[in-house]
Amino acid sequence: MAAFATLASVYSTPALSHGDTRLNDTTAESRSRALNQFLASVELKAFRIAQASLRHEDDALDAVQDAMLQLTRAYADRSPDEWRPLFYRILENRIRDMQRRRTVRGRVMAWLPFRREEDDDEPDPIAQAPSPDPAPSARLEMDEAMQALESALHLLPERQRQAFLLRNLEGLDVAQTAAAMGCSEGSVKTHYFRAVQALRARLGEFEIEP
């Protein structure tokens, strides 16, 4: 059976005699599929990380979208193992750009006599609809825990928050986090340690109901 499987894998490979075009199409297709899987696996976490830094849903979505585009434009040919740290590196740069722009915009707007409210979007009725979840009390508890964590994370310096989220939400190890943050592993350990210390000082042991 194993022999059949081996043969099947050999015969299922694209024929080289059809020319490079066919081979290239197959390669591009498989790369596109791999990228799709990768982006699908990171998009929600990336959104949460961006949201924790920017505290604005639309800005967070923009940052994630820009990071996706940048990755596919510039690094699609890289090895899939490199995509994760590269993607988060791009995302962090994008978040920093948006924060800078927001600071500048805030300074300019402060001089204007008639400035708009910061968020005047109409609320989406679907997003505002109550959740059909059967256990709202448990949900409420997790919501409160998340709000407390988000508030504590927001008070952290950018690099500490970054290190904490990349390690605990995305599950990157120290080396990958260092690659994503563009710093040494020693710096990551320092940022991470300080983040944990600061969070512990604010949240205690952060007990949650299982």
């Binding site: 998009e43 949460r48 979208q65």
Partner: protein
């Protein structure tokens, strides 16, 4: 393991649970927008890229365009010169204006041969006459 590390591990563990739980509660609208963003990004991969192969494929076309440009340059460099030579001011159209003007034509019609012949003879005799002695 120290007491601090143990507490930190518990904190990290609980934070992970809360953070991952928050992912499951991202609303459908946001998920849809993220999905659209992903599809847009993937469309970038499908776009044809400029490679050496493309360059080689386009070589005959590029060569033809270059040859046409060279031919056009040669043709315009050897184009016949204008029939009217430029005047001192460099504008041959001035001559055309003179000819087309009604006054110019009337001058041509009233051309007085005798006056011009006399003027020419006077000029010649003046240049041939010996200079007058001064004093």
């Amino acid at each position: 393991m120290s007491q601090n590390e143990e507490i930190a591990s518990k904190l990290e563990l609980n934070a992970r649970v809360v953070l991952h739980d928050s992912l499951t509660r991202i609303d459908a609208r946001t998920r849809s927008r993220l999905n659209q963003a992903r599809q847009r990004a993937l469309a970038e991969v499908q776009k044809p890229r400029w490679t050496l192969r493309h360059g080689l494929k386009l070589m005959p076309i590029t060569g033809a365009v270059a040859a046409a440009l060279v031919a056009a340059l040669l043709f315009f460099n050897h184009a016949p010169r204008p029939l009217l030579a430029p005047t001192e001011s460099g504008q041959p159209l001035e001559v055309l204006d003179l000819l087309a003007d009604d006054d110019g034509l009337s001058l041509m019609e009233d051309y007085d041969h005798s006056f011009y012949e006399w003027a020419a003879a006077e000029g010649d005799s003046a240049s041939e006459a010996p200079p007058e002695a001064s004093g």
